[in-house]
């Protein structure tokens, strides 16, 4: 693939991935594989797009106070532990069966998010601006929406951590990034607002992807020229995704996420058939 085409693909997929909190690799990797590139060649480029997209979105998402670092660190610990277990257990389940499970999870998450109407957490007139941000010692917080303060509380933390652990195991087994499980798990299971859930996942998936990318680089699996094209495309894409995310209302983002998850599920099913 020509580096300019790769740059454009990385830009588009990183923008979509950042907007929905999915990570761009889930879309970029199948596109590159369909052009004839080998999975070994494509995997580090996918990881790189997640790492760069995550950092590119960071500035805008932190200024909007939609990234909950405490929530991200705790949930990513569960997924990273799961990913290590999954990587060690790779080969136990057939790739096709695993891919179909992933497609089922994506479809379920799409339906769960798409079925819900309106906003779970409403703007609170009594909440002062000073409570916007992460609350010390908790995974609760508040964010600003059109000038109003929206406080929220994270619930069902135990169930959420189990979901994150399972997403990590699936990541370790299949090599598919878990953003498309983590974002809906946070918003639908842990009841975190979708903007916070999406921003926090964009932050946290960058961490695991970076660790995996170092391994790929150490093995010499990364094509540096292609990697440089992905860096430039994902940088622009991450900025664009975060900018669009800051302009859209939570229900619109949730609907976008549902559509993107259905596309991911369809893509996974097509890979098996």
């Amino acid at each position: 693939m020509h580096p300019v085409l790769l740059l454009i693909a990385a830009l588009a997929t990183s923008a979509i991935g950042t907007l929905g909190g999915l990570g761009g690799a889930i879309i970029l990797v199948p596109i590159l594989v369909s052009t004839g590139m080998s999975p070994t060649e494509v995997a580090p480029l996918g990881l790189l797009s997640v790492v760069v997209g995550s950092s590119a979105a960071a500035n805008r998402q932190m200024r909007a106070h939609t990234t909950h670092h405490r929530l991200g660190v705790v949930t990513e610990s569960a997924s990273t532990a799961g990913a290590v277990i999954g990587a060690l257990a790779a080969g136990i389940i057939s790739q096709d069966a695993l891919t179909l499970v992933l497609a089922g999870v994506a479809l379920y998450a799409a339906l769960a998010g798409g079925r819900r109407k309106g906003m779970r957490w409403k703007p609170d007139d009594r909440a002062p601006d000073s409570v916007v941000g992460e609350w010390i010692g908790t995974m609760d917080g508040a964010y600003s929406l059109d000038g109003a303060v929206v406080p929220y509380r994270t619930s069902r933390v135990g169930a959420g951590l189990v979901a994150m652990g399972i997403s990590g195991i699936i990541t370790g087994l299949s090599g598919v990034g878990g953003g498309f499980i983590k974002t809906p798990a946070k918003s639908e299971l842990m009841r975190v607002p979708v903007k916070v859930s999406s921003s926090t996942t964009t932050f946290s998936i960058g961490i695991t992807a970076a660790a995996a990318l170092f391994v790929k680089m150490a093995h010499g699996d990364l094509d540096v020229e292609m990697g440089a094209a992905v860096v430039i495309g994902s940088l622009v894409g991450g900025h664009v995704g975060a900018l669009v995310q800051s302009k859209l209302s939570p229900p619109v983002i949730r609907r976008f996420l549902s559509v993107a998850l259905i596309a991911v599920a369809a893509n996974l099913i097509v890979r098996v058939l």
Binding site: P3, L48, V51, V52, S55, A56, A58, N59, R60, M62, R63, H65, H69, R70, V73, V74, E76, S77, T80, A81, A83, V84, A87, L88, D124, R126, A127, P128, S130, V131, V132, G133, E134, W135, I136, G137, T138, G141, P151, F203, G206, I207, T208, A210, A211, A212, L213, V215, M217, A218, H219, L222, V224, E225, G227, A228, A229, V231, I232, L235
Partner: protein, 99 residues
């Protein structure tokens, strides 16, 4: 009934804005290195340095969070960040040992 709101670290917003600026500036350097890597013949080592810096940003961000939370005595989350850093280090080590 008055709703109970949590307490936000008063320096959180300023600190995050500073971190955001540092990340943005680092990414400009990364982009410049990537462009040099593509445009200049034999520029691969330059691009590789840029990619390495890009990959270090998310991990550096977790280390920064651990330091911040230690400073404000939010020890539970500080340890969570340290634990995550250990897990991140363990993954590649295990992968390299088992490959």
């Amino acid at each position: 009934m008055t709703p109970q709101y949590g307490r936000v670290d008063p320096s959180q917003h300023d600190a995050e804005e500073r971190l955001g600026r540092v990340i943005s500036r680092t990414l400009i350097v990364v982009a410049a290195l990537a462009i040099v890597g593509i445009a200049v013949p034999g520029g691969d080592p330059v691009a590789l340095v840029g990619i390495g810096v890009a990959a270090a940003i998310p991990i550096g961000r977790v280390a920064w969070l651990a330091w911040r939370w230690a400073r404000i005595r939010d020890m539970r989350f500080m340890w969570a960040a340290v634990q995550l850093l250990v897990l991140i280090a363990a993954g590649p080590v295990i992968a390299l040992l088992t490959s």
